[in-house]
């Protein structure tokens, strides 16, 4: 079996006594769009910088295409990075910026120009080729930065929160540009972000990091529906988390007794024993609401606190008698049938199979 494109083999990184990355052990496959996501300070950017050679791992090994990269200098690697600050050269025109890497690699003048113009054209900014960087808009600069990295025709492209400086509507546009590019070129993208919507919208797989460690690796759907632990469940948001002790165990379900009531959870890939403490999550979009008390199953009576609209989707924030917060996500036109007001008492319910038991960590 051939090795994946990139392997992080028990990589640790500390700066003095500060541990930035505790232990990273994961792989990046050829041609995939991988997002590394986590709150700020979780070590995601350090991980990316190690891959680009801008930081050296303190312990462990990073292999790219089977070759150990630890001591390879940044300029000897083929791992172009799109910077959060874009880091465009302000004293060069858009085209000269794109040509920069080719010039460093000794590509001759005519070919350099030709390839730079081709990429500027591909990014839809050919008309700005000879403009000063300072005269371009945020979105145009973003495209120059992408072209500058992609003109190198790398096997792998690194992106460090490249969209964080853009307006919301531009972010959505650039997301489409990026996913289209990645599919068309078939190269590997490693995308670092703190934004769940960016990661989930674009990535094939997501690495969730917290505190310098990998909390979970999986497809966006896996992570959303089956968060590995409480950290991921909370970070992903839009989840209802309930904790309690196991009251009874049946063949493939268990009863968990929580301050908010007793609930049945499935035991698909976990085994629970009587009396142990356990937590489980239900995605906010899998919770149903009703005015009247349901006939049976998992249910909780809650008071409506507030609503939040994002396009046609609404998130309801509710609280039960014990003050535990619940979230429900649904279509606005569904919700309008209920004609709810703040403070209304309603019933929440969900299928047993919608619940997902968290690994204690």
């Amino acid at each position: 079996m051939t090795e994946p494109l990139v392997v992080f083999d028990k990589v640790r990184k500390h700066f003095g006594s500060f541990v930035a990355v505790k232990e990273m052990d994961f792989e990046i496959h050829e041609g995939e769009f991988l997002a590394i996501m986590g709150p700020s300070g979780c070590g995601k950017t350090t991980t990316l910088r190690m891959l680009a050679g801008l930081e050296a791992p303190s312990i462990g090994e990073i292999r790219l295409g089977g070759k150990v990269m630890n001591d390879v200098r940044p300029h000897e690697r083929d791992t172009p990075l799109v910077w959060q600050s874009l880091a465009l050269f302000p004293f060069l025109s858009a085209r000269e910026n794109v040509e920069f890497g080719l010039k460093m690699r000794g590509v001759d003048k005519t070919e350099r120009k030709e390839r730079a113009l081709k990429w500027l054209d591909k990014m839809g900014i050919l008309e700005f080729a000879d403009r000063d960087i300072s005269t371009l808009s945020g979105g145009q600069k973003q495209r120059v930065a992408l072209a500058r990295s992609l003109v190198m025709e790398p096997q792998i492209l690194l992106l460090d929160e490249p969209l964080s400086a853009l307006d919301a509507h531009l972010v959505i546009r650039m997301q489409a540009v990026l996913t289209d590019l990645q599919r068309e070129l078939g190269i590997t993208f490693v995308y670092v972000t703190h934004s769940q919507s960016e990661a989930f919208a674009m990535a094939d797989r997501v690495v969730i990091m917290g505190n310098g460690e990998i909390a979970q690796i999986g497809t966006p759907k896996d992570i959303y529906r089956e968060p590995a632990n409480q950290f991921v469940a909370e970070f992903v948001g839009r989840n209802n988390i309930l904790s309690g002790t196991v009251a009874s165990v049946a063949k493939d379900t268990a009863q968990i007794s929580t301050p908010s009531g007793d609930f049945t959870v499935p035991m698909n890939d976990v085994t629970l024993t009587n009396g142990q403490s356990a937590s489980f999550v239900i995605s906010a979009d899998l919770v149903h609401i009703a005015r009247d008390k349901p006939k049976g199953g998992n249910m909780a009576q809650c008071k409506l606190i507030s609503e939040e609209f994002v396009g046609s989707m609404v998130t309801l924030f509710l609280e039960d008698a014990q003050g535990h917060e619940f979230k429900v996500q649904m279509q606005e036109r569904e919700l309008s049938k209920f004609d709810l007001k703040g403070g209304d008492q309603i019933w929440l319910s969900w299928d047993t199979q919608s619940a997902h038991v968290l690994n204690e960590s």
């Binding site: 200098r73 791992t79 959060q84 880091a87 920069f100 460093m104 500058r148 190198m152």
Partner: protein, 266 residues
């Protein structure tokens, strides 16, 4: 509104007075350089270029001008190079005792010139290097390098620190990055530092006088003329030196300032 206006007028007068105070002696010196009378008195005599003709025919003045040119050009190049290197070392590296390191580098201009001059003379004679053109160049480079460093450091502080790493990331070695990113970015500041150090060196008298020996520069020869007798030639050379210095300083400002305007632009 009205109070504001009065204040503006007062401030305007204040500024005008400062300029008058600073420039009046120089302007008078210029005026007297075209005055036919031997002593600078009013009423003025006839208009004359006699003093200019006189200094232009004086081989000593020509030699001093040549010396000054050699000294200020060499000083500008050496001091700017040194200033750039120190500014870059400050930008790029973090090390222990960086504070004292920077303080030491910025120290020379704060020491009274006469002390520096005496120390230089003592040191140069000790090691057998006094009285040469290069003695003045060395001394001036020490004096002016801090100015170059300050100007270039200011520019480097405006640089996105990712820029350098971005160049490495695109395949530029450290030297290539220096040549294609750091130096081009600092170009306006480097030009400004060149003119500024040249101006300081061109004007400098005390150190030149002590270490120059027989290789006099223009400020040194001015003093010699004044010491001998009162001679309007001094006004003529003074005018010449002043015009060159002010041109160098203005050029230094233009390079710094035009860059700032550019970076303010969105």
């Amino acid at each position: 509104m009205n109070a504001n206006r009065t204040l503006n007028v007062i401030l305007g007068i204040y500024v005008a007075l400062i300029f008058a105070f600073v420039f009046a002696p120089i302007i008078f010196s210029m005026i007297f350089s075209f005055n036919s009378q031997r002593f600078p008195t009013i009423p003025l005599g006839n208009f004359t270029t006699e003093w200019y003709v006189k200094i232009l025919n004086d081989p000593d003045v020509w030699e001093a001008a040549w010396n000054s040119l050699v000294v200020c050009t060499s000083t500008a190049l050496i001091a700017t190079f040194l200033g750039f290197c120190t500014a870059y070392s400050d930008f790029r590296y973090n090390f222990r005792f960086k504070g004292p390191y920077l303080a030491l580098i910025l120290l020379p201009p704060t020491i009274p010139l006469i002390i520096v001059a005496l120390a230089m003379l003592a040191w140069f004679s000790k090691i057998g290097m006094s009285g040469q053109i290069y003695s003045i160049i060395i001394a001036h480079s020490v004096l002016t390098a801090p100015f170059a460093m300050a100007v270039i450091r200011l520019r480097l502080n405006q640089m996105d620190p990712d820029l350098e790493a971005a160049a490495w990331n695109l395949g530029g070695s450290e030297w290539a990055t220096m040549r294609h990113v750091i130096v081009p970015f600092c170009k306006p500041a480097i030009a400004s530092a060149l003119f500024l150090t040249a101006a300081v060196s061109f004007d400098e008298f005390a150190v030149s006088w002590f270490v120059s020996g027989l290789n006099k520069t223009l400020p040194v020869i001015i003093l010699e003329i004044v010491q001998g007798n009162i001679d309007p030639q001094v006004n003529a050379i003074g005018t010449f030196v002043f015009l060159i210095s002010i041109t160098l300083v203005v050029l230094a400002q233009v390079f710094l300032f035009s860059r700032q305007l550019k970076s303010i632009r969105p």
